[in-house]
């Protein structure tokens, strides 16, 4: 047959229309299945995942997740670091008054693609991506907290601040906790895995699941619309509960 190779011409068409991943990733398909259950998605620049180009301190890498383009339409935001041994970072559900914006510091084990995926009410996942370079070792480095004598006495202590902006206020939190991820020899998992923000009248404003990729002594920031005090509840894997009031 002279035309045996004709189908070769159609190969480019197979790739046509397939979403173009903005970062070089070997694991997107895997995580798409694992965390998003193969649900429909788009790579979307409107989900801003802002990370420095390199991790100066692989144990404290600042991430900013900005999905304010979908304000009022967000069900939840999942974030992970693809090449981390423990990839998951956070499952954030902003509800009333809390904007779909989050700042968090994380551990990075090596240079990796980062993802922040936003589920909107129409059932579509919007995927924001970033790439970070790192010397590595952030996840397996020994704890800094545990070298400080008397750290147990400060467990769960929360430092907070509220900073007014034009249409909302920024709430920043710093929590004393070793956030042991189970990867340091002889120290089992022990980390804050749940956080809630509630209004004065006990309405749930935002809920958050945290995973061990979150840095020790977690730093978190939210943007909250409207005035009034806000209550924060944290729970760790040993069942301890910590409460704080944001003025």
């Amino acid at each position: 047959m002279r035309l045996r190779g004709w189908w070769i011409c159609c190969v480019p068409m197979l790739a046509w229309g397939a979403p173009v991943d903005p970062v070089p990733s070997v694991m997107w398909a895997y995580y798409h299945q694992l965390f998003l259950a193969n649900a429909p998605f788009v790579f979307d620049e409107r989900v801003k995942l802002l990370a420095p180009p390199f991790a100066e301190d692989a144990r404290q890498v600042p991430l900013e997740i900005d999905a304010r383009a979908f304000k009022g339409d967000v069900v939840k935001i999942l974030a992970w670091a693809e090449l981390n041994p423990l990839p998951q970072i956070v499952d954030f559900q902003p509800m009333e008054r809390v904007l779909p914006w989050l700042s968090i510091r994380v551990r990075i084990e090596q240079a990796t693609p980062l993802r922040a995926t936003v589920l909107t009410r129409d059932g579509l996942w919007h995927v924001g991506s970033a790439l970070i370079d790192a010397a590595g070792g952030g996840c397996t480095a020994p704890s800094v907290v545990r070298t400080q004598p008397g750290w147990e006495d400060h467990l769960g202590e929360v430092l907070g601040g509220r900073y007014p902006r034009a249409t909302f206020s920024r709430v920043k939190l710093h929590v004393a906790h070793p956030m042991d991820n189970g990867m340091v020899s002889g120290i089992p998992e022990f980390f804050i895995n749940h956080a809630e923000l509630r209004s004065d009248d006990n309405r749930l404003l935002a809920r958050m699941e945290l995973f061990p990729a979150v840095s020790e002594n977690p730093n978190l920031a939210f943007d909250i619309e409207g005035p009034g005090p806000t209550r924060l509840t944290l729970r760790d894997t040993s069942g301890s509960q910590f409460e704080a009031a944001i003025p």
């Binding site: 802002l50 404290q60 900013e64 601040g161 710093h174 920031a221 409460e243 704080a244 009031a245 003025p247």
Partner: protein, 312 residues
């Protein structure tokens, strides 16, 4: 293929690997008896082999005093050869300004000479040297081959140390790493400022005890009777411009962090802050801002937050 052909191919393809890595060190006379090996103001790369640092030596009547030994064993050995091309006098003393790898990893080439450093420098090099060296292997690669940490054997204190006709005034300062040695040659007026002074190259902050301390050290250095300033990184100067640039940059950085914390700005927001036009000549300002914010911002942030626990 005959064995002879295979041999030929092997030689051909391994030529780039066999090519000798050469720092091309050329000492420059900057004052009487005083020589400088000026590094680039770039970052560590596989092209420069870590030669981003200023290393000096003073040829005294008693012998040669070397100030810092460079980033690798290869550099240290090249430095020794460069010194031998300039003078027949033996090297009699090494003075380390601080423990950072680009200044102290050439020590292996000076094992036969007393290597002096502040007590704090020796402790820091002992604690961090291996991981600092490891990071340099990652950044510059094969230039580092065979490089190992050699700890200083002599503890230096503030005061005057005399070599031949050169009275060297040693200052124990802290701003850059917590243990920083500055050296003023009272005979020539040359001030080896170490990394307390960066000029036209953004300063680095991984081990600074605080920017206020650094500012105080700059004032101390500027008040000395110097005629020529040798920064740890960047071009030498006979005027006060390096001090002015340091003061300006440190003040800007301090205000940026303080105002950012007071306004509750996020760390990654601060990393993206615009860099003032007047710092356009400073190499690596953007890169070092990312690093400095990571190092320093958490302390600034905490001063602007209050304990808010209701119960535990």
């Amino acid at each position: 293929m005959s064995p002879r052909w295979i041999m030929l191919w092997l030689i051909l393809f391994s030529l780039p690997v066999l090519a000798e890595l050469d720092y091309g060190l050329k000492p420059r006379l900057i004052a009487d008896d005083t020589w400088l090996l000026e590094g680039s103001t770039a970052n560590f790369t596989k092209d420069n082999g870590g030669n981003i640092v200023n290393v000096g030596f003073i040829v005294t009547e008693a012998g040669v005093v070397v100030i810092d030994t460079g980033p690798s064993r290869r550099y240290g050995e090249a430095l020794r050869q460069a010194i031998a091309r300039v003078t027949e006098k033996p090297v009699i003393q090494v003075l380390l300004t601080h423990h950072h790898p680009d200044h102290a990893l050439g020590n292996q080439a000076f094992k036969d000479v007393p290597i002096g450093a502040l007590a704090g420098t020796a402790e820091l090099l002992h604690a961090q040297g291996d991981s600092l060296a490891e990071n340099l292997y990652r950044l510059v690669g094969d230039w580092m081959r065979g490089t190992e940490v050699v700890l200083p054997g002599e503890v230096l204190q503030a005061g005057v140390k005399t070599f031949g006709s050169h009275d060297l005034q040693l200052l124990h300062l802290r701003g850059h790493t917590g243990a920083d040695l500055a050296i003023l040659d009272r005979k020539t007026g040359v001030l080896f400022a170490g990394d307390l002074v960066f000029y036209q190259r953004a300063l680095t902050t991984p081990h600074t005890p605080g920017l206020a301390q650094w500012q105080a050290d700059i004032a101390t250095l500027q008040g000395l009777p110097w005629t020529l300033v040798v920064p740890g990184h960047g071009p030498i100067a006979t005027d006060a411009k390096p001090f002015e640039q340091m003061r300006d940059y440190l003040t800007w950085l301090d205000h940026l962090l303080r105002d950012g914390a007071a306004q509750g700005r996020d760390m990654s927001e601060l990393i993206r802050s615009p860099i003032p036009e007047r710092f356009a000549t400073i190499n690596l300002a953007r890169y070092e801002l990312t690093r400095s914010v990571t190092h320093l911002y958490p302390q600034y942030e905490r001063t602007q937050m209050q304990p808010i626990n209701t119960q535990q």
